[in-house]
């Protein structure tokens, strides 16, 4: 613990801390452009200069200088002030004065720091340098003349995203940041380089010229696009959500968000269901709420009722639907729309037990039937970190894909789980912190679940202080739905076999609707997608940005999200729809407000009342452990089009065409 003095204040700093970190510990703000906590140190912007003694009699770049015992650091001396002014003046020499037309305006590091640390006027009256435009894909808009060459984007692409597509070509005056041959950056995390860019060189293409940051209302939310539970901030103006940005949460998403999280929002204002519909003579007709409720009442389903939760369903919605189904005397509740029927008697056996943040400490990892890069991109970055920084070994069973790190592919046969090569078994057994990760694709093959649990036992993956058995879910609703009892032994096949007279689909679009021909289908959702097409009655509900809700991510973390905007038209929050429908059907749910609904939910499932990791313990159900010998399917066909909101989003459609199907847009963009 070196003892250093920062501006006359003595303090102890951790071993290996840099001078910049020491200054931050002392509460001093150090301006910086290239330095970023989560990226490697580059030391090329020179903005963080401070005076350090002992040392050469000149300012030092604090981000790249380790602290040493007895250092005296000055951040407010005349030398430092002059150095910062000098660096800032040089940075601004080639930076265009186009702040009024720059999307970064108002949240620009260069703008802020030039006000705080700059000279106020330039002495340069030569021509400024200009840089030709670059193409970086459908998410990132470039104005490369504004680039100050901090190389944060290059380091992010290499270190975090693992997609080495971005680089700096040429040198000196001519140095320019570009993607390889100006192709689209092939990363599902490319939106993060927009946040990282301290200037307006890389801005968000879908959000270009939409709004200024000070016009936006900021609401804290939890992303529902995948089961990672990315912490986000919802930026809205008036009634429209304009963008979604990640918040810092080191336990979940660090400070990243994938492109789907960021850019599905333009789907929130398209193809919306904004009034009830009732199917009359085979076609859906607009109706009033009363007419829609009357149509449902007319079914006379009695207790033959089911509820099927979609991937975007939140806990309160599922609880309200469950309350109604139970009040009507039914018990058919299912959330696994596509037909998965793995055992759910023990939640710990279907949970990401290691934890997302802990995953980066694993030393040997076996992936079974999961394309993590698409199913949970931000868990994939953790695994990449384990591989890249700590040298973890990764083995994988399943359809081969590029996971951005080196994985040893063993084949795609599910029966390999019980017939692992000795080398793999030895590696797992010898590992201090082994991790087994099973994806939805793996669990769809009968026997893999049991075999996986048996494997966890045989390689001693679950031990004191370390649980290496993991299931990674893709659906944001999954863990919440299982906690609320949405899970039948035979999955959705049990619902089909029971032939319910009435079924509620909570934004469930992926169900095989043809298998339920005699069921009166009520779609409670927000987008006119597959579910709405098949429905007999559509009840328009709120999307995730339009309601307060609780959700549980794949590691069992209970998180709450707040309402940013109102649902459009006649659409209502889901809990109130079921509350009103209960009145129409003549039953009581036991709550009259959202607060009461949430309280009743917490009373039923106390774990949902505590934000943070739910404790599922560790119980292993007895399951058949002989996997069928067949190829593990991949559950996601197209990362960008996995749910109704994405499918309605022009940005996501464009990403899908360009990045998944390889349509070339580079020329058209010019």
């Amino acid at each position: 613990m070196p003892k250093v003095t920062v501006d006359g204040v003595e303090l102890d700093v951790p071993q290996g801390a840099t001078v910049l970190q020491a200054c931050e510990l002392a509460g001093k703000e150090i301006p910086r452009f290239c330095y970023h906590e989560r990226l490697s140190i580059a030391g090329n912007c020179r903005m963080c200069l401070v005076e350090v003694a002992p040392g050469p009699p000149k300012p030092q770049a604090s981000c790249a200088l380790p602290t040493a015992e007895g250092q005296v650091i000055k951040t407010d001396s005349p030398m430092v002030k002059k150095a910062r002014e000098g660096v800032m003046e040089f940075l601004l020499i080639n930076h265009p004065l186009d702040c009024p037309i720059c999307d970064q305006g108002g949240e620009c590091d260069l703008q802020d720091q030039s006000v705080a640390y700059g000279r106020g006027a330039t002495r340069y009256d030569e021509n400024k340098r200009a840089v030709t435009e670059k193409y970086m894909g459908p998410i990132v808009k470039t104005v490369m003349t504004r680039c100050i060459q901090c190389t944060r984007c290059v380091r992010f692409a290499e270190e975090v995203a693992g997609v080495e597509d971005v680089g700096a070509i040429y040198r000196g005056e001519n140095m320019q940041i570009t993607s390889y041959l100006e192709r689209a950056v092939g990363s599902e995390l490319s939106g993060n380089i927009v946040d990282l860019c301290p200037v307006g060189a890389l801005t968000s293409k879908p959000y270009a010229f939409e709004a200024r940051p000070w016009e936006l209302t900021k609401t804290l939310g939890i992303d529902m696009m995948d089961a990672v539970g990315t912490n986000v901030r919802i930026d809205a103006r008036g009634r429209q959500v304009l963008r979604v940005l990640p918040r810092v949460n080191d336990d979940v998403n660090e400070e990243w968000a994938n492109d789907k999280t960021r850019h599905h929002v333009d789907g929130l204002v398209r193809r919306r269901l904004d009034q009830p519909y009732v199917r009359v003579n085979g076609t859906l007709q607009p109706a009033s709420w009363a007419e829609a409720f009357a149509a449902i009442k007319a079914v006379g389903a009695g207790s033959s009722v089911a509820a099927i939760a979609g991937d975007l369903a939140d806990c309160e919605t599922m609880f309200a639907a469950k309350s109604l189904v139970n009040a009507l005397g039914g018990a058919l509740l299912e959330g696994r729309q596509t037909g998965l029927d793995y055992d759910v008697t023990s939640l710990s056996a279907v949970n990401f037990n290691t934890g997302i943040a802990e995953a980066e400490n694993a030393d040997v990892i076996l992936l079974v039937g999961t394309n993590l890069r698409w199913e949970a991109p931000l868990i994939n970055t953790r695994i990449r970190k384990a591989v890249w920084k700590k040298g973890a070994k990764v083995f994988a069973i399943g359809p081969e894909t590029d996971l951005t790190y080196k994985a040893e592919w063993l084949g795609d046969d599910a029966s390999l789980v019980t017939k692992l090569p000795t080398a793999v078994l030895d590696a797992l057994k010898g590992a201090e912190r082994p991790m087994l990760i099973f994806g939805g694709g793996a669990l769809s093959v009968p026997g893999v679940h049991g075999a996986g649990l048996a494997l966890a036992k045989s390689v001693n993956a679950v031990k004191d202080g370390w649980n290496g058995y993991n299931v990674v879910h893709f659906s944001a609703a999954r863990m919440g739905s299982l906690m609320l009892g949405y899970g039948l032994p035979g999955g959705i096949k049990d619902v089909i076999a029971a032939k319910p007279k009435l079924a509620f689909f909570l934004g469930a679009d992926e169900v095989d609707f043809a298998a339920l021909p005699d069921t009166f289908k009520v779609y409670v959702g927000h987008h006119g997608d597959k579910g709405a097409h098949a429905a007999d009655v559509i009840l328009p509900a709120a999307a995730w940005t339009e309601k307060d809700f609780t959700t549980v991510n794949t590691e069992g973390r209970v998180q709450r999200s707040e309402k940013a905007v109102f649902a459009p038209g006649d659409a209502r929050e889901d809990w109130s729809i079921f509350r009103a429908l209960a009145d129409a059907l003549g039953v009581s749910l036991g709550f009259d407000s959202f607060a009461q609904c949430r309280a009743a939910m917490i009373a039923a499932v106390p774990a949902l009342g505590v934000e943070g990791l739910a404790d599922y313990g560790w119980t292993v159900p007895k399951l058949p452990a002989k996997p069928e010998a067949r190829a593990i399917p991949s559950p996601i066909k197209d990362f960008y089009l996995t749910n109704a909101i994405c499918r309605a989003s022009p940005t996501m459609q464009r990403c899908s065409e360009e990045l998944v199907h390889g349509v070339d847009f580079a020329e058209a963009a010019e």
């Binding site: 340098r129 200009a130 840089v131 030709t132 435009e133 670059k134 080495e164 597509d165 971005v166 680089g167 700096a168 070509i169 040429y170 040198r171 005056e173 001519n174 140095m175 320019q176 570009t178 993607s179 390889y180 041959l181 100006e182």
Partner: protein, 222 residues
């Protein structure tokens, strides 16, 4: 103005160079170069290999050689490194040509010492032969580039043509060299002054004269 790389049409380049592979001889050389670096650090060999590839392209096209995109990718793949990393190297160093050059790559130094010693005359001699900066002559013989210091300031002005330096030039000697090259001859490399061998003082030493024949202790004279 920092322009986007002005590389030749990608589709055409790929059609012509997509099947690039080492010749048997160069494959051996490449192996030897990679073997110089520790296992797992094979990326360090990127610069010699790019040079080797450029020379092979040169041999195939009867020119000084250049690095088409598929060739850069071939080298990157051979070293198991991302294409962009090899591309960065190829764009950073001016000795890698990103566009085709002629049989003789005439690199005229225009930095201060050469400028003071008459690099303008050298440049004029080149221009009078029809060369244009950054372009190849229509006969495919010469490509003219103005470069920064090549470290031969004692023999300024100088020009580097392919792997040889021609030093102590003036207008006439430059014309002579270019004529000889055009005629297919190989002029004498190095200094073009008759009485100079390398970079020793022209016309005999002007300082430390007593040191020429034997050792001399100057300290008493300070």
């Amino acid at each position: 103005m920092a322009d986007a790389p002005n590389i030749p049409d990608e589709a055409e380049t790929r059609a012509r160079w997509g099947a690039f592979a080492w010749t048997a001889e160069n494959a051996e050389k490449a192996k030897a170069v990679i073997a110089r670096y520790p296992a797992g650090r094979q990326r360090s060999a990127v610069m010699p290999l790019l040079d080797l590839a450029q020379r092979q392209v040169g041999a195939e096209t009867q020119t000084q050689g250049w690095l088409p995109v598929p060739v850069i990718e071939y080298v990157a793949a051979a070293l198991d490194m991302p294409f962009i990393r090899a591309y960065e190297v190829a764009t950073f160093y001016t000795m890698y040509n990103l566009v085709p050059v002629g049989r003789y790559h005439v690199q005229v130094c225009g930095t201060t010492p050469c400028l003071l010693r008459g690099s303008d005359d050298v440049m004029a001699a080149c221009k009078n032969r029809g060369m244009v900066k950054g372009k190849t002559t229509p006969d495919g013989l010469f490509t003219l580039t103005e470069v920064e210091c090549m470290g031969t300031c004692t023999n300024a002005p100088m020009v580097q043509i392919n792997d040889d330096n021609y030093e102590d030039l003036d207008y006439d000697s430059t014309v002579r060299i270019l004529d000889a090259l055009a005629a297919g001859e190989l002029p004498k490399a190095g200094t073009q002054l008759a009485n100079r061998h390398t970079s020793e003082p022209d016309g005999g030493p002007t300082t430390l004269k007593e040191m020429v024949s034997s050792n001399h202790d100057y300290r008493k004279e300070w």
